[in-house]
Symmetry: C2
Subunit: 506 residues, 2 copies
């Protein structure tokens, strides 16, 4: 039953499925309830599926409210005529109900759900039902493989000249852990191909993409990336600008409100992004520690094995590495500060020794896998590639090729105009530098949006400091943001001294 309505445009966007607003009386006539589906059609255009929202007053009977996605796509304006036809539920909803009942998905079912997700045929509420059931029922290995493949197929894939492609991934959670920008130039200098896509900050003060963007554009599309990598062997770009593993972003959005992180979906999400760039050899950095995402070595070992097995099923060679995730790795935190630190390291300066050490160890593993270094010689080769200036030279070529200034000097990169240095109030030993607390301070200083906001740590865990000795300097673009950062420092106390008097007994 096709019913004619006049359009009222609502200048509002909705993520996911398109929404139409109907008067409750019309909905009753059409036997429609809130969150039901309808087909919205116009004379001569492709019909689209929409989800019904109900109102008593926003539109009167006979008028349908269309959200931006619906009216722009149809080229519609106020008072245009459209037709609404009640529509049944998509088959994928049946698969979701079956998964709830405990039946593992077939590959075809997973493809169907991801297809409907991409075509905006499933509402947030329906997708939450799906992700909840995966969270509760789990995904078997075959389902995880199928999900990974479906996510890969949902987006674009890179087509590179070299068929052996190297990649690294860190599951995150450690501040200042900017190894990517050092590892990639090292292995590229040795001749390995590495089309690195990175994320922007989500909960941290800087993502690799935010930091690289201080030096060069990172919003490269598929063609740009292929051109840069075919020419230079490597790039560091923002994954969000190129439509790789497109379904993954939609799933992450739905997983957020209930913090649903079903293991199989997490694995599929990461591996799909690697598969989509054509990676054949991947190292996965799994930081383990109190402040990190993975708290215990046992937990990390299980995860590592799952990565390796899933990779093997997808024809990829995966090396999972458990790393120390207790405290920040670098001394620099914030996009600009980290970009400057990276350039310094690749210029051969001996700053942030822990960051250098972790980077050369990771790069070393890749050099050995890629048969550029003999077994056990990778770390040494990586260090030499930095010291010889070859890694730095490669990095400047990458910057140049991505559209930045390859000859940029560290000192010419502006950092926050305002700064404040916090000094030790007493003598003592630094017992802990807490990741989350450092992140909070730097975010309050304005990062990641203010690229110039950041922090330089002058001490590391275990250091013995004197009263009055600088602990860190925070940078921001206004006095107010400096104050805000110091407020966060007081609240989070990320730098903890070892206590001397542990308890007083009366």
């Amino acid at each position: 039953m096709k019913t004619a309505f006049k359009v009222k445009c609502v200048d509002l966007s909705t993520a996911g499925v398109r929404v139409v607003v109907l008067n409750r009386e019309d909905a009753r006539d059409l036997d429609l309830k809130a969150m039901d589906r309808v087909e919205l059609s116009t004379d001569g255009r492709q019909p689209v599926t929409c989800i019904v929202d109900l109102t008593d007053t926003f539109v009167p009977p006979g008028i349908v409210g269309l959200f931006k996605e619906a009216y722009t796509r149809g080229g519609l304006s106020d008072r245009d005529q459209v037709y609404i036809t009640p529509k049944g539920k998509p088959t994928s909803l049946r698969y979701i109900k079956e998964k709830m009942a405990g039946k593992p998905h077939t590959e075809e079912e997973i493809n169907g759900i991801i297809h409907d997700l991409m075509n905006e045929e499933l509402s947030d509420v329906e997708l939450t039902g799906w992700i909840s059931s995966i969270y509760i029922r789990g995904l078997e290995k075959e389902e995880t493989i199928a999900l990974t493949k479906a996510i890969v197929a949902s987006g674009t894939t890179l087509d590179l000249r070299e068929k052996r492609v190297f990649d690294k991934h860190c599951i995150g959670g450690v501040a200042g852990n900017r190894t990517t920008m050092i590892v990639v130039p090292i292995i590229a200098a040795a001749g390995l191909t590495c089309p690195k896509t990175s994320s922007r900050a989500i909960t941290s003060p800087a993502g690799t993409a935010d930091t690289m963007e201080v030096l060069a554009p990172v919003n490269l599309n598929k063609d740009d990336i292929e051109e840069v990598v075919n020419k230079i062997g490597a790039c560091i770009v923002w994954g969000g600008a190129v439509n790789l593993a497109a379904a993954d972003d939609k799933l992450i959005r739905i997983r957020h409100p209930l913090s649903l992180d079903p293991r199989g979906m997490l694995l599929a999400s990461i591996m799909a992004k690697k598969k989509a760039v054509g990676a054949t050899d991947v190292i996965i950095d799994i930081p383990v520690g109190v402040g990190a995402k993975i708290k215990s070595p046992d937990e990390a070992t299980i995860l590592a094995k799952q990565f390796n097995a899933l990779g093997a099923s997808l024809g990829m060679n995966i090396h999972s590495l458990l790393t120390n995730g207790d405290h920040p790795i670098g001394l620099a935190v914030g996009p600009t500060i980290e970009a400057r630190e990276t350039l310094r390291i690749l210029n051969g300066e001996n700053v942030s020794p822990e960051l250098i050490e972790k980077s050369v160890q990771l790069a070393g593993v890749l050099l050995e896998i890629g048969e550029k270094a003999a077994q056990g010689q990778g770390r040494e080769m990586a260090l030499n590639l930095i010291r010889s200036g070859k890694a730095g030279e490669k990095f400047r070529k990458m910057i140049e090729q991505q559209g930045g200034d390859g000859s940029i000097k560290v000192e010419s990169i502006p950092i926050g105009e305002y700064d404040h240095t916090v000094v030790a109030q007493r003598e003592g030993r630094i017992e802990q530098v807490n990741n989350r607390g450092i992140s909070a301070v730097v975010r309050n200083a304005g990062a990641p949006r203010d690229k110039v906001a950041g922090m330089y740590l002058h001490v590391e865990e275990g250091d013995r400091v004197k009263k009055g000795q600088p602990l860190f300097t925070v940078y921001a673009k206004s006095e107010r943001k400096i104050e805000q950062a110091l407020e966060a420092y007081k609240q989070h106390e990320p730098i903890k001294f070892a206590r001397i008097i542990l308890q007083t007994l009366d």
Copy 2:
């Protein structure tokens, strides 16, 4: 961190939790993602919790879009100043995650979730996570009891003079099954108290509330209901006008898109409504059959036992009755046609014999439970209460007391001005009269919104008919709706003849 914004009012309502629309840049600064919570505050008013929606263009940075619920409650208009403060997740979200992980809810947790549901602290997506996990994990008996109590406590409860209160409930799905309007006057005529709340049509062409409304107002509030019942002993009103078991409506809305009907929630929903009116003795009519909700007697028996056990835990005396649900019970379908049929039956006319028989059997059970009839004598007593005119007299008093015209004549109740009678195209036996098909025809004639739309069936299953003999007459308020109904008749073929030639073999 409290940030000032200027208001932009969005003349649009959202069911459930209030929504605020923020520009993506502001959201990034405040570390907010779509579907996060914020506190919306104004100078001097109680802050409210809202859920964040993001936009690139609808509002610029510094402006917050408020949906109707948010701006009317705060008495806000365009360009007013408000404050947005990121807010953590409510504790009830933790309970939901624990239920997902398989931990049964405590009573306190269920109370917490229902409290947050009623205060619009939980979004649709979060509630879907909860209902999905209940669907998968199930509810233990103790959880179901706690949920029922929490739903009762979420709304108002009736306070009647009589402490022994009788009620009936039908789990639905059978067309023309208007027993309530016959059973209630019968038992009230015998002196039993029955404050009957009914629903409007959801998928059927008429709910009991829609049918009763033809004769009397049904939108009575708590005080009205108490007055009518204390005076007359009974009423038949729309449950939606009185705030009984308020949480239930909200849960039903969320369960709809995925058709999630966790058994425990279904039981709690029904029993809470009975408990809220103060019912002590309840019969549950469970129609069983191909066209009904419950397909097999085994399934119905399990459900019946669950009703009885839950009732006992809540201090109620429950009698579940398995009834024949294969085909329509009455011959009249549609609000006005059913209202006229009810009056005729209570006037003592021998119409719709199956409906009369089912009504007196159900009423008989209640009369025996209420000790008005000796064991085995209930049906006979019920029939006598109709024949003597006492049930009819009581019904007219109920109509009068609810604000209708108690002296109304059947013939003076207008039915659809247009009608059409469909006749048999050949001689044969009626093999099936299908519930769903009949509903579809009558809804297409305009019911339940057009109260005058409906159908009168001239045949029942098993009848032998001659060519040209009337099968049914459909009524509507326009020629177009008659055509629409006949179209639906062709499509659904609800009246099926027994086939003569079953197969042709060549």
